[in-house]
Amino acid sequence: MNKISIRNLSLTYSDGTQPLRDISFDIPANQISVIFGPAGGGKSSLLRTLNRLNDLTDLQVQEGSVLLDGSDLLDPSLDVIQLRRQVGMVFARPVVLPLSIKKNVTYGLEVAGETNKDHLSEAVESSLKKAAIWDEVKDRLDDPAIALSGGQQQRICLARVLALEPEVILLDEPTSGLDPISTGKVEESLQDLKREYTIVLVPHSVQQAARTADQAIFLLQGELIEVNSGELMFTNPQDPRTQDYIQGRFG
């Protein structure tokens, strides 16, 4: 069952650069799809298309189709506000909002109009638990989120996305600034989360890709080179360019 279907997606910025050219692949539901490749390959642009965050940049042309459960995400009349609640994103550096831990987690709910205090508290507890950080912060929910360590902050970022009960979670190099232990914790959480959500991950290393991928997509300079299951991609890549990259001959 495909959650997201991408067909012939191309992006052009106002200065003429094309981060993505004619990309087509599917993202199955309740799996971790990993989009990997060298820097500048278009991975972040692809991710940001999925929650229409590219609208905030000087993107000029969006071609092709991106279907989420059959509806076209690229439709200009789409309610992108609602979309972003259904497709959540965790960024590369943990960016906590300048608010308390609790307010960080409830932010998305509050701007959506949720005012019921009980609902909010429930959401806080359940999302912090899913992000595997409830025990560490449950006694200091009113402390500023900035006081936490990098790894903890990143899990707060995950929790605030989870509070909105999205269908898809996008993660753009979520562990790039974190120590190995925090990285491991995040990867563990993803395995748990995929049962309920569809996960699209841009890893910060090939090793992370190999560890986590159910499906792997190799993107090189805006072009889709290869799509395969996680196992096959990293044991027997088909395209020589994929092989070279995985083996570290360039990157």
Partner: protein
Amino acid sequence: MISKQKIGINPKPPKREFLITALIKAAGYSAIIFVGMIFLFLLVESLPALREVGLSNLLSSRWYPIEDHYGVLPLIGGTLIITIGATMIALPFGVGTAIYLSEIAPRWLRETLKPIVEILGGLPSVVLGFMGMLILSPYLRIWLDLPTGLSALAGSILLGGIAIPTVVSISEDALDAVPRSYRDASLAMGATEWQTIWRVTLPAARSGVLTAVMLGIGRAIGETMTVMMVTGNAPILPTGIKDLFSPVRTMTATIAAEMGEVANSSTHYHVLFLIGIILFLISLVVNVTASAVVFRQKKSQERILS
């Protein structure tokens, strides 16, 4: 919990933001409207002067409205000489102090001195004029053996003082904004702190410092009360450096001093508006040129950084 909507073709995001967005947009454009209004008004009230007085009178070097002499050259000259004098004081002292505070002074000293400089910036010009009148001018008279201390020099010194806080504060912010990594990189290559300042930090902050100096000069040109109180208010065309020590009169002081005694819509009234529009145009030219410089500076910096 929030209702889950299937993503589909929905109408545009809620209209409730339309009003606030419109208000903000209107506020954004208000500046243009105000400038336009001011220019239009000055224009309408000053054009009659050209008709009633004639260019040859206006360009003469005699300002004596009582006898229908409306030569504005002495006034322009007065403004010019004082502005130049003020810049010669404000630029070195202002930028120098900014560099000292931002790059050299230890933190505790900087935190103490910076507010003091800002105090000078907050001093009302009438207070400075007051002090200048009672203290600076008499001292100038005594030290320099002049017939009167009320002179262009007194005006220049005070105006330089008025411009300095603007120059210091904005330059200092600009220098402060230069990323630490620039300085570190320079020092790591073996440069001294002094060299780093002049070759790396100051050039990187160039657009901000330029803006600072421009704004400082702008303040000097536009000053009214201070010059009214210390420059002697004699509308004599300054012809050389020597005239720094004699009284002059600026355009601003002329308007302020004579507007109150002028009949509405008389020729004198219109000529004062004419002086007003000249001032407006001068500040327009100064500002637009300087901001163009800043703009070009920023563009080239962006190219370098990318």
